[in-house]
């Protein structure tokens, strides 16, 4: 095995995370390889130094504040652009979404129908016939208006 591979395992060896078999192999190599032994000594010194550092005492309420800040989800640009989409996703369950979608389709259809009826009005030519007939009757002032004009006379 090359030194490069042994050097990668030195940190694990210091942390006592290697098997006993590997441990004996690493110790055997350190005895025979001067370069690896030097690196091991350097690592051992750093390890000792880190362990000698006393942990900083946290100010009271630190975890509460941290938890609070984590909860404050950062709004992304996409969320800012389409806030309703995210609001929709959060506010309504699946069935509600379907109901709203169906209502929207209905609303659009009804609006289209109203728009169509308002813009494309249709007149039956029979109405003009009836109106002409009514004028004839009105002018015939001697008798009673006795004709059912709005009946379908075929």
């Amino acid at each position: 095995m090359s030194c490069k591979k042994w050097k990668k395992k030195l940190s694990s060896y210091l942390d006592n995370e290697v098997s006993s078999r590997e441990k004996s192999k690493i110790e055997k190599h350190l005895k025979s390889c001067r370069a690896c032994f030097n690196q091991f000594k350097q690592l051992e010194r750093v390890h000792r130094l880190v362990q000698s550092i006393q942990p900083e005492k946290l100010r009271p309420g630190f975890y509460e504040r941290l938890s609070e800040r984590l909860c404050q989800k950062k709004t992304t640009l996409r969320e800012k652009l389409v806030p309703w989409r995210y609001g929709w996703q959060l506010s309504f369950p699946g069935v509600g979404k379907i109901a709203i979608a169906v209502s929207a389709v209905l609303l659009v259809s009804v609006s289209f129908y109203i728009w169509r009826s308002a813009t494309s009005y249709e007149v039956n030519i029979k109405v003009f016939e009836e109106e002409y007939f009514r004028s004839q009757q009105m002018n015939s002032f001697v008798g009673e208006l006795a004709l059912p004009v709005f009946f379908e006379i075929e």
């Binding site: 007149v123 208006l145 006795a146 059912p148």
Partner: protein, 325 residues
Amino acid sequence: MNPGKGFQKVLQCLLVLIILSGGMTSALLAIEPKEILTRSLEARFQLNFEGIQETEFRRSGKRYIITTRVIRQKPDFTYTATLAPARFKRWIALDDGEFRIEHIRGSNKFEFFPSENSPEAKEIRRKNLNLIKKNYKISRLLDGYILARPVYVISLIPKHPGNPRRKVWIDKKTYLPLKKEDYNWKGELISAFHYTKIHFDRRFSKEKFYGEFPQRTRKKVSSPERFLNLKDLRRKIRFPVSLPHYLPAGYEFQEAVLLFEGRAVKLTYTNGLGVICLFQMPSNIKLRGHLEGAHPLVWRKTGKTFDLKGDVPRKELIKIRQSVK
């Protein structure tokens, strides 16, 4: 000289004088046919009666006869109900002097029209009578009887060819027209009516008749807007109105009626009896039941659709069509 012969001559002269003076007196006392017609105009609004009226009319080349029960209570109440044929039997109408409501029994169908006794209708009748006096030769024919009642028989012959004519039988006592016949310019009967039964001085409770109409017809809605002059019409209408610049002799503008909430207009012209109607509306409104170019009197021009109807010779209608601007 024989004194007996002289006396005979004097007697003969006296007889001739008596006959002549009698004839002149009766001629002076005899009522003018124009006066009879004028009195008949509003007679029905001054009577209480119940009658059965048979009306005959032609439409689209077919002949229809409708029997109706008519009840009039003065001054301005009329109830009309169709008795025959069976398919029109459910039709009823009520005119209370303010509105005329037409309804089909057992349905939600009802329509409002101006009353026959409204000031506008009275004005139209008055104008028509003046037109009749102007455009027709009114003469009195031999008196007759209708339903065992003595009647005046009045004939209206047009002064201008191509106009309809009328014959009307007017009750001598009440001046109510009991029979009428209208003929077109070809001499064909176009409409007629006569009473088959009539009982005068019959009184009815009006409430009984109101009960036959749906409750919501009591709440009156406005009937189509009518204009007796074109100036008022132009102020109200949504599109520029085209007018005919030619009309057959004797015809004059009568009224304009807005249809379909002002989307279309009906212009009516009359000579007192005959009627010509010009309908027009913007071309973006579809005309259902009509094939483009199928009828020469239904046409499109300057963004509008026109329909011309009238019982005058066809060449006259074509002339009117060509003059519409």
